[in-house]
């Protein structure tokens, strides 16, 4: 039992240990230089990421409250990788920031929460993880303490997420009332799709939809993204989204199997809404963070298309797409984070003529955007192709056509950025920026990922082998 405990909860324990180490560093000494701290942290995260690949076992703990499978490990590894990259990218921003350690402590505790959430086998455990992954986030959204926008963003996040979790809980309570169990493995037997359960499910769905910012539960997203520090934004838009999606998929496919027909239609509706609204808002944006917020909303719409496929291909494609989405989005955010950290410029107009001064950054951003737009040969193409393909498996081609057409609209605004970078003239372009090793490394990693993942088919095959359909 106790070895099991250590092995099965390896990921969580590692993160927890790191958190404690950081706390001790904090307590022990104030004279550590920021750079040193950052290096230590990044090394720790790297080890954490690497450790994620060893000594993996499947199993459950605490009476199914906590369960680990290959898929879950994969997901946690992905999250670890993302966190590592983000922390590398945050370097430029943090290296002259006072509260580095707090930042990491909070950040990692949210990661911990996500891990619990992902491997939760029980609604209670799920709820705990969810809150653990949300509340600290609100805190670090406010991490630029003196910035008004930052605190406004944090306020919006905390209030609306508290509200959403309130509704989520209400749903859970109703579900409990209707079924008498909170256990994922037992719930399906009790589900028969009566009105109460459906309502409970809708509340639950809304809770998830809020987290992965699906229209009409998405409105917090743009503001929070815009307000918070870029690194936090990228964390929000990548890590937490991904984590919630992982859970969402597994909950849908495992727990709410009996309601499949209902949620298929719901997802269809929501995804159409999400794609359209996301696109329509993204077209107009000038602030790149806000722009990426809406673009990520649109991406969620596409992901819902994949999920609604409700087949093995569905899950596989979603996870595969998320993996690619990680690299693409982090690539884009990496550049934006770097630029805004060193110049404070965040709008599209500032990026005009970027190519003249910073070709490297421009290419990184461009390729990432192309990948987000799903243009070959970037991996985004494969991701999107498989997503839509999974959705098409259901045979609803009107839906697929709408999705395909939305891809065109999204292409438009991605190209708008590219146009700004390459074609538009600008009298005071962003001056030539020296890039530190760490962020550069992160960007290169992203680009390599974007370019290569599509062609390395074993990745997809592996994910496919782990995933499962209805």
């Amino acid at each position: 039992m106790n070895t099991d405990f250590f092995i099965l909860m390896k990921f969580e324990l590692l993160v927890a240990v790191i958190i404690f180490v950081l706390i001790f560093i904090k307590l022990a000494s104030n004279e550590w230089s920021t750079k040193a701290v950052l290096n230590v942290v990044n090394i720790l995260l790297l080890t954490n990421f690497i450790a994620g690949f060893f000594l993996n076992h499947d199993g459950t703990l605490f009476g199914n409250m906590f369960s680990t499978t290959k898929l879950v490990e994969l997901q946690k590894n992905i999250l670890n990788l993302g966190t590592l990259i983000i922390s590398a990218q945050a370097y430029t921003w943090l290296k002259n920031h006072k509260h580095v350690l707090e930042f990491y402590i909070l950040l990692l505790s949210t990661l911990l929460g996500m891990f619990f959430m992902i491997s939760s086998g029980n609604l209670l455990m799920f709820y705990l993880g969810l809150e653990l992954s949300t509340i600290p986030l609100a805190a670090i959204c406010n991490f630029d303490l003196e910035k008004r926008k930052s605190s406004e963003a944090a306020m919006k996040l905390i209030i609306s997420s508290a509200f959403s979790s309130g509704l989520l809980l209400f749903g859970i309570s109703l579900l409990y009332g209707a079924t008498g169990t909170l256990n994922f493995s037992e719930l399906p037997q009790h589900l028969n799709g009566n009105a109460l359960q459906l309502f409970a499910f809708i509340l639950l769905l809304a809770g998830f939809a809020f987290k992965i910012s699906v229209v009409p539960f998405h409105l917090w997203t743009a503001d929070v993204y815009e307000g918070s520090p870029v690194s936090v934004t990228s964390y929000l838009s990548v890590i937490s989204k991904a984590a919630f999606l992982f859970v969402f998929v597994s909950v849908l496919y495992n727990v709410f199997k009996p309601l499949a027909n209902t949620w298929f239609n719901m997802l269809m509706l929501l995804s159409i809404l999400t794609m359209v609204v996301g696109n329509l808002f993204a077209i107009r944006q000038n602030n790149l963070k806000r722009f990426l917020a809406f673009s990520s909303i649109t991406q969620m719409g596409f992901i819902l298309v994949g999920i609604s496929g409700s087949s093995q291909m569905g899950i596989a494609s979603v996870i595969y797409f998320l993996l690619i989405y990680f690299f693409s989005n982090l690539g884009a955010f990496g550049v934006i984070a770097f630029v805004s950290a060193s110049t404070g410029k965040e709008t599209m107009d500032d990026y005009k003529g970027l190519y003249k001064t910073n070709p490297f950054l421009s290419w990184v951003l461009t390729i990432s955007l192309f990948s987000l737009a799903g243009i070959p040969p970037t991996a985004g193409f494969f991701g999107k192709f498989f997503l839509i393909m999974a959705g098409a498996g259901k045979g609803n081609y009107v839906f697929i056509t709408i999705a395909a057409l939305n891809m065109i609209i999204s292409l438009y605004y991605y190209l708008k950025v590219v146009k700004a970078i390459f074609m538009d003239a600008n009298e005071q372009p962003i001056e030539k920026l020296p890039i530190n090793t760490l962020p550069k490394l992160a960007m290169i990693v992203c680009i390599t990922g974007i370019v290569s993942i599509g062609f390395i088919h074993p990745i997809y095959d592996y994910i496919y082998s782990l995933s499962f359909g209805l």
Partner: protein, 500 residues
């Protein structure tokens, strides 16, 4: 031979370009790649005709298949038949010429050539892939470079044109995408769905399904092939693009459309092709006539050629829509001929523009006195486009007409007659352009000092002219190459017709 070379060579070239320093290295590398590719293409032709001569009657030769995404039955599967080889040859000609024409591309030369090569890579891949996923992959690869090429190095309202082109083409590919998925999920080959072109061809897709997805795929590719009314990217795109880009655009990309319509839409969904052929005919005829008349009104040389491309590509779609062996032959020939001819045209226009910095026919004039070589090339291109015997245009159009007339149905007859009528209009606008720009007195005396074509431009033009003349004088070379392949397509089409 190993077809993957055709993808590999441009790929390596592109990568090599990334490591080059300065225009000199870059262009040499690019040229080298293009030349090698040309040789590869000719060797392919040689090997192919040997195989055929040796009595190898299988539909696709030099096939080469690896499993790519096992779970989804997506394979890396390449192979060629006569049509693809014709297209590959066309591409390699145009690419070589394009690179030579942009020999003095000072600004951001590395990116420029990189994108050109990438574009050609897409085209080559498209023409040899037998797996619909691959096909789509390469189709989209060939789009975005155009956006950058036009947007960065273009002229006029380049951003607008670039954006328009990218969006419309991507819209087309989105339709194709939906259609392909439809094919995929309705193709149960040996119990599993597949993207493999040949396998899908072997199984019989239900007619009602075909009727749903044929429009998606045909219109999707049709947008690439300037199908009326989705042709509006053509004039803007071509006119704003830099010379080489418009050569590629008109010479190669628009052929992707025609090829797709033939290889995917018509070949895989024969009943639907027959069902919809009247619509296609009507649209194509409109494109031909109306493109021609619209051309008549243009004053900008590039617009003239762009609109005439709309009209000429109409012949391709007409030939495909007519669904007779001869007409499809003609369509393929028209693709090749138009590719070479329009590339030549754009090359000439580009050379003129580089010197005079205007493309307005009224401002030019008497160029024959100033730059005889370029003017001769221009006139040659013009004559080819108005279908002068001895040049490729005539052969292609004659074949299309002859094939189209084989359909006794009145609508088809009318369509054919109208399309024939376009040759008169073509003569009108070509001769107007020639008369205003090339002949006549010299309007602008400071042009008198302008130089004639430089060596690279001469070579580029010569290459294309050779292509045009050879096809024009010895069309049997081309027709013998493609006929067996078109035959398989048309036979397959007719074998599947249940209601015919």
């Amino acid at each position: 031979m190993n077809l993957s070379l055709l993808i590999l060579i441009p790929l390596l070239t592109a990568i090599a370009i990334l490591f080059c320093k300065g225009l000199k290295q870059v262009r040499v590398v690019a040229l080298l790649g293009a030349v090698i590719q040309l040789f590869a293409a000719f060797f392919l032709l040689y090997a192919y005709s040997n195989e055929r001569a040796a009595g190898n009657t299988s539909q696709m030769l030099f096939q080469d298949a690896y499993i790519w995404f096992k779970a989804l039955k997506i394979d890396y599967h390449v192979g060629v038949d006569g049509i693809s080889i014709a297209m590959i040859l066309l591409t390699s000609f145009v690419v070589l010429a394009g690179i030579l024409v942009s020999w003095r591309q000072e600004r951001m030369s590395k990116e420029f050539f990189f994108l050109l090569i990438l574009l050609s890579l897409g085209a080559y891949g498209f023409f040899i892939s037998l797996d619909l996923f691959m096909l789509f992959f390469f189709l989209e690869i060939a789009v975005i470079p155009k956006f950058l090429l036009i947007g960065i190095w273009g002229s006029g309202k380049k951003e607008y044109s670039a954006m328009k082109l990218a969006l419309m083409l991507m819209g087309g590919s989105a339709l194709v995408f939906v259609g392909l998925l439809g094919l995929y999920f309705n193709s149960t080959f040996g119990g599993t769905t597949t993207f493999d072109l040949l396998q899908i061809a072997q199984m019989h897709i239900p007619v009602e399904v075909q009727k749903i997805f044929f429009p998606f795929i045909f219109i999707g590719f049709g947008i690439f092939g300037a199908l009326f009314p989705f042709h509006t990217w053509v004039p803007d795109g071509h006119s704003s693009a830099p010379t080489a880009a418009s050569m590629f655009l008109a010479g190669i990309s628009m052929k992707l459309g025609g090829y797709g319509c033939l290889r995917v839409a018509t070949y895989l969904m024969p009943e639907a092709a027959h069902y919809y052929s009247p619509v296609i005919i009507v649209l194509a005829t409109i494109a031909i006539i109306y493109g021609a008349f619209a051309t008549m009104m243009q004053k900008d040389l590039k617009y003239i050629n762009a609109y005439s491309s709309v009209s000429h590509c109409g012949f391709v779609l007409l030939g495909i829509g007519m669904l007779t062996q001869t007409s499809i032959n003609g369509a393929v020939m028209q693709m090749v001929s138009h590719g070479l001819m329009t590339a030549l045209f754009f090359a000439a226009i580009g050379m003129i523009y580089d010197r005079t910095h205007t493309r307005m026919t009224v401002q030019l004039g008497g160029l024959l006195k100033i730059m005889p070589f370029i003017s001769t090339v221009f006139v040659l291109a013009g004559l080819c486009s108005l279908g002068l015997p001895g040049l490729s245009g005539f052969v292609a159009e004659a074949t299309v007409f002859m094939g189209s007339w084989q359909n006794a149905d009145t609508l088809y007859r009318v369509a054919t007659i109208l399309s024939c009528a376009s040759i008169v209009v073509t003569a009108v606008y070509i001769l107007r352009a020639v008369g205003q720009a090339i002949m006549g007195p010299v309007n602008n005396t400071q042009y008198l000092s302008l130089p004639d074509a430089a060596w690279n431009e001469k070579i580029a033009a010569t290459i294309l002219v050779i292509g045009i003349v050879v096809i024009g004088i010895a069309p049997f070379l081309l027709s013998d190459l493609i006929t067996p392949s078109t035959q398989t397509i048309i036979e397959h089409t007719f074998n599947n017709i249940s209601f015919k």
